[in-house]
Amino acid sequence: MSARSTMETARAGATARVIDVCGRKVEVLESGSGAPLVYLHGFMDVHGLKPDVMAFHEKLATAGRVIAPAHPGVGRTDENPDIVAIEDVVFHYLEVLDALELKRFDLIGHGVGGWIAAELAARHPEKVARLVLIDAMGLFVPGQPTGDIFMMAQPSDGGSNVSLRELLFRNPRDALANQLVPDGRGDIDEELRRYQMLRFASWVGFKPPYFYNRALTNRLHRIAAPALVVWGDKDRMVPIAHGKRYAELLPGCMGLKIVKDAGHSVIAEQPDAVAALVTEFLA
């Protein structure tokens, strides 16, 4: 199957196109050149909040050709009515990879994108050259539940989004946190992206299993590829115990790298530090 591009838009830093995947539209941002590097996004991320790449992705593009598809129902990617669980999301991405004719690539995932990356790599280790997980959900760690992003995304006292900032950033009062998730009525396009992202995430995180797959723990042994696990030290959405567990379970793991002064949105809060860790690992 070939990737037919139906829309080309030049954007600062990246090229956006919408490809056809089995009759569904999938938006893909690309930047940089060299070996393919598939990036699966999280919440405060490209697609999840912004239509374009952010500082972190620009730096990442120095390490290869970054290919960042938007999850089903997010940005200009169609919703996929077959998706009701993580298994279906993984299958969707197999079809996306087929359409992009990507046989082997580096794979990076953040947050819910990290979970998808881990599931994909456990099923198809032959496709993944190297794996990077950044504040990734996916594991069941007893006594260390992920945050309830759905309840925390409900505004309080009219338009306050402090609980969502509390969950996703190192400090809800930080300027960056308030810029990305403001109180009151913010930028409508960004609010809509946040909404689309929660809608997608609700399929895999609202009901039990809440952003985890118990079976994943005993499947990660199949991933022989070199792996890196990166975590914000103040992640309240996915506790750092999950990062430690990933680092223990991935046979090729070079270690857990903890980034200081960062919450779950580590790629937005510490783009230089995370990009340096990842590009060094991929060098």
Partner: protein, 417 residues
């Protein structure tokens, strides 16, 4: 055939024993409100008191009693309204028993709902009105139902239940959400073709279309009435016509709260504590901005993104909801809490009936922590001094406007054709 407006007595069964500092100390009255606040001693006899109030309403001559389903909150203590309905089948003899409704996506199997309503219909000699509802945001949190799927699940369940009541079993249901090899409920409901089905909703067009084409009755769940309610009614009437049917007032219902006193002033004095308890405590987490509102928003993303965009473009995050009212004047504007003497209540309801053209008025008499004796006095004054006039004039109005549409005797409760 001419029928008057149908007057139903609604009870939420609120938890009435919260301390005065509840609003200051608790973020919400829903889902996470700590149940350590439940007082076992005070709560002894509470359900009996509430059931007795509804049975009293039946004796006073209301056309029916209304119950609904809510979970893990202080607003309504009926996680299973069917249990209260079962009690009412034995404690009452004449009025309809409206369960508005069972929250279908929360139930593992719609067959269970079909079975329980069929039992209740037999136990009540055919007095059940079967409300079916998808459940709002708070309930999706309570039962871990991703709200993005609830509408699809809901309509599949509605159609399965209606089919289970009308088609002889056993048959197989090939559904996406509720596949069943054997659908064959015993008992069958008593009413034919089945108990009337009422479906609550806001003004979503797809809901109105789905209700209209199935011939069910629509209950507008809005808590402010006036031009918007009339607009919804016109919209629903148009949609009914577009599917080849005719609107008549018993196809639609609205909810309001009423307190009838001897004088306007005495009414406010007597109702004050209960009403403000209802607004500030019971609605906290639901129809109030203060605290965390769970009913609607990005965490319960059941509406399509394009509809959410329209919502973002046309709403203000700080616009007041019913529970944000700070004065009697603001409450009066909402037009859904009507307080006064018989004359005042009659005047305002008469206008509402005329303007809304809704034939089912579902009226909440017990508000918050209102003591039982004053609730009963208000209900009695209503039935003696307000209801007769509303019934008389609405009967004339409906006969003039809807004589042909009302030829079908089942029309009165919006039954399926």
């Amino acid at each position: 055939m001419s029928l008057p407006v149908q007057l139903y007595c609604w009870h939420f069964m609120a938890y009435p024993y919260l301390s005065k500092d509840f609003d200051e100390t608790q973020e919400t009255g829903w889902v996470t409100v700590p149940n350590s606040l439940w007082d076992r001693t005070k709560a002894r006899g509470l359900y009996q008191e509430y059931i007795d109030q509804l049975a009293y309403g039946d004796r006073l001559g209301f056309d029916g009693m209304v119950l609904n389903e809510h979970h893990q909150n202080i607003y309504g203590l009926m996680p299973s309204p069917n249990l209260i309905a079962a009690a009412l089948t034995q404690a009452t003899t004449r009025g309809k028993i409206v369960v508005l409704g069972n929250l279908l996506p929360l139930h593992l199997n719609p067959l269970r709902v079909a079975e329980e309503y069929a039992m209740l219909d037999n136990m009540s000699n055919g007095r059940i009105i079967a409300g079916l509802a998808p459940g709002a945001g708070a309930e999706t949190f309570n039962y871990d139902i991703p709200s993005v799927a609830t509408r699809e699940q809901f309509w599949e369940a509605v159609d399965l239940i209606a089919r289970a009541w009308t088609e002889d079993g056993p048959f197989a249901h090939e559904g996406k959400w509720y596949p069943l090899r054997y659908v064959n409920p015993w008992p069958k409901p008593m009413q034919t073709p089945h108990p009337p089905i009422w479906i609550p909703g806001s003004r979503s067009k797809s809901t109105l279309v789905n209700v209209a084409k199935r011939g069910y009755a629509f209950f507008l769940s809005s808590r402010s009435h006036g031009e918007e309610t009339a607009k919804s009614q016109r919209e629903f009437a148009q949609i009914i016509e577009s599917v080849g049917d005719k609107y008549q007032p018993f196809r639609m219902g609205i909810l309001l709260s009423v307190y009838v006193g001897e004088t306007d002033r005495q009414a406010k004095e007597e109702a004050r504590e209960g009403i403000w308890y209802f607004l500030k405590n019971c609605l906290k987490g639901h129809l109030r901005r203060t605290g965390r509102q769970l009913t609607f928003g990005p965490g319960v993303p059941y509406i399509a993104p394009k509809d959410f965009r329209a919502f973002l473009e046309h709403s203000k995050p700080n616009s007041k909801l019913l529970g944000d009212a700070d004065s009697w004047e603001e409450l009066e504007k909402s037009n859904s809490i009507v307080i006064g003497d018989s004359e005042t209540v009659y005047r305002r309801l008469s206008k509402l009936i005329e303007e809304s053209q809704c034939g089912n008025l579902l009226i909440q008499f017990h508000m918050g922590n209102m003591p039982q004796d004053i609730v009963r006095k208000s209900m009695k004054r209503f039935m003696e001094n307000v209801a007769p006039r509303l019934r008389e004039e609405s009967k004339v109005m409906y006969a003039e406007r809807y004589s042909r549409e009302l030829e079908n005797p089942r029309a009165v409760v919006g039954a399926a054709r």
